[in-house]
Subunit: 270 residues, 4 copies
């Protein structure tokens, strides 16, 4: 009796609603893997895996657009630079991708998630989107939260990815795929910041993908997850490109250079 | 003069053929990001990023099928289990994905890459695929390499993903997308193993995706990379599912259990 | 002019107070590395690197005791299990250590840091340690924070490491190395919990190392860092032991077993 | 019957010779943890954990010297730079350390291990160390292996850590702690390279720590592991220092700069 409990215990410890397997059989959310393969696209698979049901083709296309938009931002992005540095240290593709994905944390990878959270807060506020955005943003400003996730960019005056994604959402509203509530909220935030900030902080890729994810009903933590899937493509491409170069042990700055030392003067051990 | 060299040095250190940026502009392999977004699919973007040119739609569909097939193999796979364990330790989605992706190393994530290598070796051997496969596999066996990457499975007598992927490759041969050379090589390996091994070691997911990637012309290291993109979906889905559970600090075995200790008997410090 | 600014910019970007280098010279916090090597111990080096000055020998001994105590807690600890799993996946020692260290996050590795925070909160409360501990813990309980970091253990009724570390702190108080303020606070928390909880939640390794680190003046985030240095020894030892075993691709549960699937029934793609 | 086998199976899966636990009891290699704590140093614990027995104090001191020497090489080292970059991305200390430790792979962290391997090869060659070194290095050179692990440095004409560590080994030979065989081998390699190379490639930190580890009998993979423990101190110190700075999302180069793009010219999607 006790022993059958042991096995039960171990099986329960690892329970899941995602995948069922028996020898010769793999079912994802109830569907046989061989039925899915070749019949649904990658974005549909992402949706099925994370949410349990298949999206419509139109929903999948909108998700896919957001996933395409975020793949790369060049070696100034720490994730991309780390991928390249790791390869030059002798890491395999998996190691380089891991070190890089790992830094997609709150600051470098969390803005999309935080932006969806913000939109949800505004949606819960009541009133028109414009009124609600103003109320929420003013409360944030009063609490000293100057940074508005999904808005402003340290490099691009206008992030070229944002208007394109918003246009795709508008089209999805017209064909009935999504209802447009969060697009309006996103634009209300943009308008409020335009009216109240001294320098422009227009919607960026994170604010725009957040509109897409919120319209499609993704929970905030999944937004970071999907961004990671997207950026992993850039991380992989840069790792592979670096692997074809002769650099051996590539630090952040060429070896002839040094950093600035600001610490204690030379001293002797007592 | 020296100083202008300094900046050049730093710019050269980080040169790339993948992405060009200026304030307000992002171009991937020459294409403006806003032109790509909403017009090409995720699999096409993976191809463009890693290989420099866009694939045809038929090529992208075949790549996408391989990417869909490999997303998950449940918590017995170390990558999936680690993702769940990491979440219960307090990691964010990025941390859980990193710890998990990291273990997709030679044994757990490298079989596809090794299988493409094997197919290329057979292709370079000369003679019919059947003769070449026999020659290469016999040399491997003589050298003591019993394990043939991409064939045999510790759990599935027949891996349901392999015949489905081969059928999709056959279809792609019929419509002229690929030429079928590596499908024939893969089947020649399968037939040789069937004829010479005492227990069945049929083609598995890695051997089948390797056929797809080789037919599509991907370099072997990219095969591991694309498998990682694919498995990252499962890693994300399981991380998210775990985050909704109350488990706090989930080890590999329920806390009531222990491991077996095989070491030195109790002793005192001298 | 602009160019000399460029180089300055890059040097400033990477400024540090820890290490100064020139060709042939390495100075750590002002000391030549060859003077430190062979003359100071590892715990002293940890202190110098993280805090800028050398500790006394007595301070270093107390730090070292805390670092020795936390090296391992066996394969039920996710960090240790992940290290072993990673090796069986083909990872190198560095990869296994990275995947494992990564999960020493808030739940699995953060209790020491949180416990120091708690002690500092109590220290800032005013009154006797006993009154302050009661006040702070009652506020926490009222706020629904049932978990008290550093107290209670899911496996050990009494954690054998805690009383030993407290005894070493007491000795360090007697010889004037530390003043004992945080030992009294830690014991006050323990006594309060003993008096108010229905089941025992005595001080554990995290609560005890937190006393040590707080007495020695380490900032809370460094407490997690030092625990990571300590646990890295166990992670390394288990990785190495696993590398000597024949297991190939070792998941959390033996391959004959499965997990429990709780999801959708079998279904067909529409 | 079958069920008791189940539990046995799970226990065997996780067997270890390192740690034994029962509720209230933790034994490392047979010693109670509370007996070790405060009585042995960190380097002794590293030795006990990885090798199963306690070292003498003199052996531990020599190991400790090697561990002190390698803690840091500044932000030009990718491991150190990645640690700082990760913190600025919002990672916790554990995440930053993991991303950084992960890149201590064959090129950036493997030279010590490879150097021990080389010394063992020379030791197995027969003849005097000088003859054996010449024979092994000539065979390597003929095979096109130009790089000799543990010798030469891209930055230091003479690595100040190497002569200091060799002097400590000499002292340990004099007091009978080690026999000096590998010190002689290391010096023979150094002399051979001095005699045959056009530019100086003197013994560096990796070649010198390799002498220490080989003299002390550590297996080559453990040499990388111990270097990782050592460098983790630098990784931690730099992570912590960076956490006190205001940089938000710090890439490898200041944001005003860009990389050099070498790829396809601007083009339109067909």
């Amino acid at each position: 009796m006790e022993n059958s409990t042991d096995r039960q215990l171990a099986e329960d410890w690892w329970r899941t609603e995602i995948i069922r397997m028996q020898p010769g059989e793999i079912r994802i959310r109830g569907y046989a893997i061989e039925d899915l393969t070749g019949r649904i696209g990658f974005a549909q698979m992402v949706w099925l895996m994370t949410r349990g049901e298949l999206p419509t083709e139109a929903q999948a296309r909108l998700l896919e657009a957001a996933m395409v938009a975020g793949v790369d931002h060049g070696p100034q992005a720490p994730s991309i630079a780390i991928s390249r540095m790791a390869m030059s240290c002798g890491a395999g593709i998996n190691g380089a991708m891991a070190s890089a994905v790992n830094v997609l944390d709150d600051v470098h990878g969390g803005a999309g998630e935080q932006s969806v959270d913000l939109y949800h807060q505004i949606a819960a506020e009541g009133g028109t989107p414009e009124e609600a955005a103003a109320a929420v943003l003013e409360r944030r400003a009063e609490a000293g939260q100057k940074y508005v996730p999904g808005f402003g960019h340290r490099f691009h005056p206008v992030d070229p990815r944002a208007p394109r994604l918003l246009a795709l959402v508008d089209q999805a509203v017209r064909d009935g795929t999504v209802d447009g509530r969060f697009a309006r909220i996103g634009r209300a935030v943009d308008a409020h910041l335009r009216a109240t900030k001294s320098r422009p902080v227009p919607m960026n890729i994170d604010g725009a993908t957040a509109v897409v994810y919120a319209e499609l009903g993704f929970a905030p933590p999944l937004c970071r997850g999907i961004f990671i899937l997207s950026r992993s493509v850039g991380i992989l491409a840069h790792a592979y490109e670096q692997s074809l170069r002769p650099d051996r042990n590539k630090g952040p700055i060429p070896r002839q250079w040094l950093w600035r030392y600001d610490g204690a003067g030379d001293r002797e051990l007592g």
